[in-house]
Amino acid sequence: MNKTPMNPTATNKAVHKPFFLWRHLNKLRWVSLTIVFTMLVLIPFLHVYQTYLAAHTYDLLSGSEKQIYNSMEWLSSPFVTDPEDQLDALKGNTWSGTFGSLQLSDPLAVLGHLVSSQTFYWPFILTALIPVILTVFFGRFFCGWICPATFLYELNSNLGILLRKSGLHIGNRRFDRRLKYLVLAIGLAIAVATGSAAFAAIYPPAIIGREIYYAIALGGFGSGVVFFLLTLLFDLLLSRRGFCRYICPGGALYSLLGRFRLLRIKRIVESCNDCAKCTAVCEFGLDPLHDHFGQECNNCSACIAVCPTEAMTFYLSPQDIANQGPGHLGRQYKQQNTAFNPAEKMAGEN
């Protein structure tokens, strides 16, 4: 049943159109990123509210503390009757978090814990089960849809575009994408050698989860925020989204897990006009125009949203399709196919 749209000899009306909502998924992704980030800010505030409750201390609070108390009471009262206990159901961050009776952890946290403690503690290993299963189906979706660092890195990358438009020459270096697998391997080696969780110190989502809590509940950022600011500067001035593309060990692990992901994006070559907006917009520096997605595509759907001819769509397959050549609406394809004999084609090209 898939053959009709895939067949290049089919007439124009048989060209497959992507489902209309997929163009809008990128907005949904921003909603998702914003919700996660907001939760990371709210959870520490809710914790502070809980501590005020536990201390029965409303009358002794300062003005700003009363504001926290009142706003958190307003926010949580529709959902809980006994906030002091029931708000314990919502704790943690994307590195490892608790949602009611469900605990979820980053697969990198579990892997790091396995090698540093060298014990199999099944209850903790199972907390990564749902993320791993989702990654096997959807690939590196965490990086595009959940990661609180992505939220800041993408805003940072938009800032980079503004800087470029205002005439600043900021770098856009490219490195070898395989560097991050090396970082993952070195991190694992360090974790084995020192018996300490090395990834938590350099993994941006873990840093952000921790540092937001430190800043709100403990009254100040730690040194992790310095590291994160350095990565922001690296991304902004040296290499666009460089940390996620070339260094992030979590991204490396997700890419490996999502290597044979089922949900992929493909180019509908019949309606592609070679405009290359997809390649320009791709945060991870992939090349959708030449069908190079690979294991590192995070299904963020930015290329679907930006495509002017509706030539990008989702499909289910464990592997990418090979390069389909120039888009059928593009000049290159038309030149190739209007040429009746090789001699004329050569002449046309000259």
Binding site: T51, W95, T98, H113, S117, F124, T194, A197, A217, G224
Partner: protein
């Protein structure tokens, strides 16, 4: 480490080295400044196992109703970066045992909030009274530490003039140290961990 401290440590190291004390020298250079006297949350594994098991998710701190759990930055070395600790004089543990319940990796073992399991499994430290500082030992009846203790007559008992006597069952929650009205405090928790 500040530059002055660094220079001082170099000086001390060379002095110790010249005196033929290589172990002292190593401790001075790699330990940096002396580690602060801190407690781990109740039910935490022994120090080295704790450092390798904790994933630094921070949930123990987020669930602590007393906000006594703080987190190390780099001041205690890289190995304990991001791990939870308690300074009892700042804010002491109330033995609510919520941190053990939420810890995903069992770095803090879950313990039931009952007398028996707490006495058996919580080994944060042990209180020690400085009789030269303690008001009760100076003839002024106080007894605040005894009244602050969640395990009265099990962990601490009072004698003549409310003089505190710490018993062997003390788990080291630090509420006595937190509540001591003397400055500096006359009762302190000596942590149980054997690391560093």
């Amino acid at each position: 480490m500040k530059r002055r401290d660094f220079i001082k440590s170099i000086g001390l190291t060379s002095a110790a080295g010249s005196l033929g004390l290589p172990a002292t020298a190593a401790a001075l250079t790699f330990g940096g400044t002396a580690p602060p006297r801190y407690l781990r949350p109740p039910g935490a594994l022994p120090e080295e196992a704790f450092e390798s098991t904790c994933i630094r998710c921070g949930q123990c701190g987020e669930v602590c109703p007393n906000r006594c759990i703080q987190f190390f930055d780099l001041e205690n070395g890289t190995a304990s970066f991001g791990t939870p600790y308690i300074i009892p004089r700042d804010q002491a543990c109330i033995l609510c045992m919520k941190c053990g319940d939420i810890c995903p990796t069992n770095a803090i073992v879950p313990i039931e909030r009952l007398m028996e399991p707490i006495l058996e499994q919580v080994k944060m430290g042990k209180a020690v009274v400085d009789e030269n500082l303690c008001l009760s030992f100076q003839g002024k009846t106080c007894g605040v530490c005894y009244r602050a203790c969640p395990l009265q007559d099990v962990a601490i008992r009072t004698g003549l003039l409310e003089q505190p006597h710490v018993l062997d069952d003390c788990v080291g929650c630090g509420l006595c140290e937190r509540s001591c009205i003397q400055l500096p405090q006359a009762i302190r928790i000596i942590p149980n961990y054997t690391h560093a």
